[in-house]
């Protein structure tokens, strides 16, 4: 685990009336406990990893309440868990990273939505759309519509979010329908406060077990039950949802203080952004009093037609603020208004961009355009336009001053990452064998596609590296390489990739990055993690799993041994043996390793015990500034600095203070026959007496042998 969450666990036990202060996703976790859930599951991924991490550390509290929690094998597994609520009145919640997670979970979700639930079933989705997102840009909305699941998108403050969690369970139970709650990435990470309630122990729990199993053919996804489900969705569940949303006022209307001729209908999650844009334009105050009427959709699916009609009646124009495409909400509202003969014109994607995140700047521009076009009474249009053009013009002024964009800084491998050397090896092998087709996968290793490596031609999904090679491999005149992380291997890569390759007799090469955790999502444990804890007490072994399904060619190579890795790869690429050849690149995630080692070493140092610290360095005067080492390694701690020489103009390579001494620099300079400027230093703190004596003798002799020349650098 990336860190310990003991402090967060404490805030989960706050009682009624106490103030919770912390992150959005942690507030959701607390809200689940306040809602009386019986079971929780999920698969990690930003921005909801935190929910799983914290619950993993909150075992004692969960046990006390009788709540079952598991870190599911995949999103599909998590979604299937909700099956508990089909026949029994138990509340359950699962979580994952949206779109990518929902795709994996979709089979179980469709079946769950068809059968319906009697206990509240809620999916907490981290909607990762826009700036900083690491996934494909799609909306969850489409999934909610096609499977008939209700979708909540609450205002992004902790009180609203916590309320939405509790309302989701109630809505789910009132309508026999699973509910999805989407939170944008910033809302998950928002730090705020809300007033707590007591945690609720569920009626059915690990402490109060279900006595009788139930059977009801009506809940089974086979005809004719499925036909009945489809009708229930429309005839019972939908109307029930509309009346629940209406009666419990899940959506909010804010009257405008200056004008009633226009209004804004917006997704709840965008409320704060819209309000800030209005503030900037002088149309709202710091506390949310808006001069334009606002209709906030905390439930974005289904829409309640009479609420929309009531809001739009008497207005000439309404603006729909809906992030992402297609514009489902805008089209639906247009349709509702026309069917009900409401004349208000609908603006949406006509003044706001069709695609992309609705950042502050986008909203500012869009709202200004809406006002300019509709010229509502009671709004100082001139002021708004002036402000808007002043603020949005800053970017252009800055661009002129900066004269070209500043260098980009995409994420990359951490200092000492064990996956980087593997890509160095692939790069070296490509020098000999020419360009290789590499089917890449999801994980930290996806960064291998970035400079300086640019390795990986396709990325199709988590654990799908090998599976995605099965079309291209038979069509290529040389073998292809696939990449998979150990997280992806257990998630689905073992079945969809390895077993499929054996079954269909593929002849290709698979590189498994075994770093011990799902590192990209915050180093959660997986079945093969060495540490015991929340998962299996006995770690599963990847190479044994491979051999058990008939992979004969398996080599395990230490990740940092670049030459050995290059040899193994060359061997795999050129051997006469048919079939799948697997290389396991074995090296623990450095982030996690450093976290493990640092406190141990600090303690030893304090006790006066011997500690060896390794670092790499570069001789400035030997380095000639070609930077081949950087192009082959890409370590963040391997960087450049101005050349101390008066003659040389190119910056020299240098190893900065962050070096953890993984040894890759040396390995690469050997494997690639680079320059002799690298040196390794083992600093022995608290050395033994013998070591100290020997060092003194050596220093004495070396001092006499050493050259006395020294090049003055001051010119």
């Amino acid at each position: 685990m990336e860190r310990s969450f003991q402090a967060e666990v404490r805030s989960l036990s706050l009682g009624k009336g106490e103030v919770f202060r912390g992150e959005g996703i942690l507030a959701v976790t607390k809200a689940l406990l306040q809602s009386g859930v019986s079971y929780i599951g999920g698969y990690q991924g930003a921005p909801v990893s935190h929910l799983i991490d914290v619950l993993g550390d909150a075992r004692d509290m969960l046990d006390e309440l009788g709540i079952y929690f598991e870190n599911s094998a995949s999103e599909a597994g998590a979604a299937a868990m909700l099956g508990a609520s089909i026949n029994h009145p138990v509340r359950g919640a699962v979580t994952w990273k949206s779109t990518v997670g929902t795709n994996v979970a979709s089979d179980a979700l469709s079946n769950l939505a068809s059968a319906g639930v009697i206990g509240g079933a809620v999916v907490v989705l981290g909607e990762d759309y826009g700036e900083g997102s690491s996934i494909i840009q799609e909306r969850t909305h489409a999934f909610a519509m096609k499977s008939q699941m209700w979708l909540l998108d609450p205002r992004p403050n902790l009180t609203s979010i916590v309320d939405a969690v509790e309302q989701s369970f109630e809505l789910s139970e009132a309508t026999n329908t699973p509910v999805m709650l989407q939170l944008r990435i910033r809302a998950c990470h928002v730090h705020g406060e809300f007033i707590c309630k007591d945690n609720r122990a569920p009626a059915i729990s690990r402490k109060h077990l279900i006595e009788d199993a139930k059977f009801d053919y009506g809940k089974i996804c086979l005809p004719p039950s499925t036909y009945a489900h489809e009708k229930q969705k429309i005839e019972q569940r939908w109307p029930a949802a509309l009346s629940f949303i209406r009666e419990h006022r899940l959506n909010e209307t804010f009257e405008g203080s200056s004008t009633q001729s226009v209004g804004v209908i917006l997704q709840g999650g965008l409320y704060n952004g819209v309000l800030r844009a209005l503030q900037q334009l002088g149309l709202a105050d710091a506390f949310g009093d808006s001069r334009l009427p606002l209709q906030v959709l905390n439930v974005v699916y289904p829409l309640v037609p009479d609420e929309i009609v009531a809001f739009c009646k008497g207005k000439t124009d309404v603006l729909i603020v809906e992030e992402g495409q297609p514009n489902y909400i805008e089209d639906a509202i247009e349709s509702i208004l026309r069917k009900n003969n409401v004349l208000a014109r609908v603006f949406g994607k006509s003044v706001l961009p069709m695609a992309g995140e609705y950042t502050g700047e986008v909203l500012l521009r869009g709202i200004t355009r809406f006002l300019e076009t509709t010229k509502p009474e009671g709004v100082d249009l001139q002021h708004a336009t002036d402000v808007s053009s002043d603020l949005t013009g800053l970017k252009n002024t800055a661009a002129d001053l900066l004269d070209g964009a500043v260098p980009n800084r995409p994420p990359g491998f951490c200092v000492g990452c064990p996956e980087r050397p593997v890509f160095s090896a692939v790069k070296l092998v490509q020098r000999k064998l020419g360009q290789i087709h590499v089917s890449a996968d999801i994980g930290c290793h996806t960064f291998g596609t970035l400079p300086p490596f640019n390795i990986g031609s396709t990325v199709l999904g988590y654990g799908l590296g090998l599976a995605s090679s099965s079309g291209i491999a038979p069509l290529m005149n040389s073998r292809v390489v696939s990449i998979m992380g150990d997280g992806g291997f257990w998630h689905n890569g073992f079945t969809s990739g390895v077993i499929n390759a054996i079954h269909n007799k593929h002849d290709s090469v698979l590189l498994i990055m075994k770093n011990g955790y799902t590192s990209a999502t915050g180093t959660q444990n997986i079945p093969s993690s060495i540490k015991t804890g929340e998962t299996a007490p006995l770690p599963l072994d990847i190479s044994r799993a491979l051999r058990s399904v008939g992979v004969d060619w398996v080599k395990t190579v230490t990740s940092y041994k670049v030459s050995q890795m290059a040899d193994a790869l060359t061997d795999a690429m050129t051997t006469g043996k048919p079939g799948l050849k697997v290389i396991i690149a074995d090296g623990e995630c450095q982030l996690e390793r450093q976290r493990r080692i640092k406190p141990v070493n600090a303690k030893r140092l304090k006790q006066g015990k011997r500690v060896v610290r390794t670092r790499f360095g570069i001789d400035d005067d030997v380095c000639t500034g070609d930077h081949s080492c950087i192009r082959l390694s890409g370590c963040p701690s391997l960087t450049i600095k101005p050349n101390p020489s008066a003659l040389r103009t190119d910056p020299v390579a240098t190893v900065n203070q962050n070096c953890v001494g993984c040894g890759l620099c040396g390995e690469v300079s050997h494997a690639a026959v680079l320059c002799p400027s690298f040196y390794k230093v083992d600093v022995i703190q608290n050395p033994t007496l013998g070591e100290r004596m020997l060092a003194r003798i050596r220093a004495f002799v070396i001092d006499r042998l050493a050259g006395s020349r020294s090049l003055s650098r001051a010119v």
Binding site: V190, F287, C414, T574
Partner: protein
């Protein structure tokens, strides 16, 4: 109407931006001010650029009568009161995003650079010009407090976020007191003393900067004047070989200078000579095993390394050198004829014979190996490598001279002088550089320089030639495989070092 105070923190993964945001929240809480923070961590924390955004409403909750301010989750254009960046380009990125307003924003940033991968991997100098960023910061912010915070952090044994926090407080733009900032640091409970020290240092630096306004960092390196270059060149060649070698260097440079002065028209600065002198000295001091051994056995080196890895006086250090001399390196110290004879034996050159050596230079035996290699210096003039390098140096200098001697071609000569930078490095890198320069020299040889046509035609040719050499040089540095160079010179694309592999077809496919 009181507006929230908006604070945008730009940092890199691992610099503690999140902790800084937590401190700000803690300080605001101490004043009972409503506060909110958001961030975009996720993958960005893995070394990428990341931002944290904090809003503080500077009125105690108790005075708000239960009303809650609506905070934004994203920074809006021109809506930032305090922008703080842990690095120069990150500060510029805030400006680039349109967040900084010249009438509103206080910009607090570190002037040091953490280079992006695109800057680091360039084959020569791919660094972003810091001056552009500094000018933009000053133009786009109400006030600027800029200094090297990384250095201050190192000096105080802390992480940069403490210095950033201190600088924000010291600038007086935060709505919270110094005492509440320090209390927030104490409450976080980790490395408290070091953090407080960093905070105090940042605080006083910011105060000082505000008074002096002299916040210029080490601006771009000025091009050294001719005599500085020659002096450094002579010093380097003496250090590399001996006084006589330096004398030879001076003679060559002197002859070039006369030629350039004779060519007239050029500024008194003699740019062609200056650049030729620069790269000539470096080339004459090419890095062979003797040189490497020499540099690695200097008495000053051990001290330097101890300092660099911050080893305490009581600590023992082990020092391992990574040397991988190949056949070429070994041959290069043989006399030319012998080297040629060996190189022709196919058996030896068939396979790369690079032997990875790990030499422990903290041991007497390891150190002595290098001392032995160092002692070959006196024989250097008789080695095959010396002959090879000087042959090409002569060709290069001749071409420069020829261009200088031809009317209107001094710009081309200048570009060719700069092309001396192509030959550098070791092993394959060096071989590649040589090949690239040879291609450029061959290209110049192929040009008809002695046009008898009119002046206009000659000037046109001159411009074209200079441009051609410049493009070729840049192309040579743009990609390691030499495709771009070939394209620039209109040559066929280089053969890839491609070995066909024996591919065993899928049985079913066959």
């Amino acid at each position: 109407m009181i507006k929230p105070i908006t604070i945008l923190v730009a940092a890199l993964g691992g610099e503690g931006g999140g902790v800084l945001a937590d401190w700000l929240i803690g300080a605001a809480d101490a004043h009972d001010f409503p506060v909110q923070s958001t961030s975009i961590p996720g993958v960005a924390q893995r070394t990428g650029a990341t931002t944290y955004y904090i809003e503080i409403y500077p009125v105690p909750r108790s005075e708000l009568g239960g009303r809650k301010p609506v905070f934004s989750l994203t920074p809006n254009p021109g809506d930032i009161d305090v922008a703080v960046a842990s690095e120069l380009v990150e500060a510029a990125r805030i400006v680039q995003g349109g967040f900084s307003h010249p009438r509103r924003t206080a910009m607090i940033g570190s002037t040091h650079r953490e280079y992006a991968v695109s800057e680091k991997m360039a084959m020569a100098d791919g660094r972003y010009q810091p001056q552009k960023a500094l000018d933009a910061l000053r133009a786009m912010a109400r006030s600027c407090v800029l200094f090297d915070m990384r250095e201050v952090a190192w000096r105080n044994g802390t992480v940069i976020n403490t210095v950033m926090f201190g600088a924000m407080a010291g600038t007086g733009v935060l709505p919270v007191s110094r005492a509440s900032c320090e209390a927030a640091i104490r409450a976080s409970g980790k490395a408290v003393d070091a953090s407080l020290k960093g905070f105090a240092a940042g605080y006083s630096m910011a105060k000082e900067r505000q008074l002096s306004l002299a916040d210029g960092p080490g601006a771009g390196i000025l091009p050294a004047a001719l005599h500085d270059v020659i002096r450094a060149g002579a010093e380097l060649t003496t250090d590399y070989q001996d006084e006589r070698y330096a004398q030879e260097y001076r003679t060559i440079v002197e002859s070039l200078r006369h030629l350039e002065l004779d060519a007239g028209g050029g500024p008194a600065e003699c740019p062609v000579t200056r650049e030729a002198a620069r790269f000539l000295a470096l080339w004459m001091s090419y890095e062979d095993v003797i040189r490497v051994a020499d540099l690695k056995t200097r008495s000053t080196r051990l001290e330097r390394i101890r300092k660099e890895v911050s080893a305490g006086s009581e600590d023992v250090i082990k020092l391992t050198e990574f040397l991988k001399p190949g056949l070429d390196e070994m041959l290069s110290v043989l006399p030319p004829k012998l080297a040629y004879w060996v190189a022709r034996r196919k058996v030896l050159t068939h396979k790369s014979l690079n032997a990875g050596l790990y030499i422990r230079t903290d041991t007497v035996s390891g150190f002595m190996v290098l001392c032995a290699l160092r002692s070959l210096r006196r024989l250097r003039r008789h080695t095959s490598r010396f002959r090879n390098e000087h042959d090409l140096i002569v060709r290069w200098l001749d071409a420069i001279r020829r261009l200088l001697a031809t009317r209107n071609l001094s710009q081309a000569a200048y570009e060719l002088a700069l092309s001396g930078n192509l030959v550098k490095g070791y092993g394959q890198t060096h071989a590649r550089g040589r090949k690239n320069l040879q291609a450029i020299l061959a290209d110049i040889d192929g040009q008809n320089l002695n046009l008898t046509d009119g002046l206009a035609a000659r000037i046109k040719l001159a411009g074209r030639l200079a441009e051609r050499i410049k493009l070729a040089r840049e192309a040579a540095l743009a990609d390691p495989e030499g495709h771009e160079l070939a394209q620039a010179l209109g040559l066929p694309a280089p053969e890839p070092a491609f070995k066909p592999i024996k591919f065993v077809r899928n049985k079913r496919a066959a």
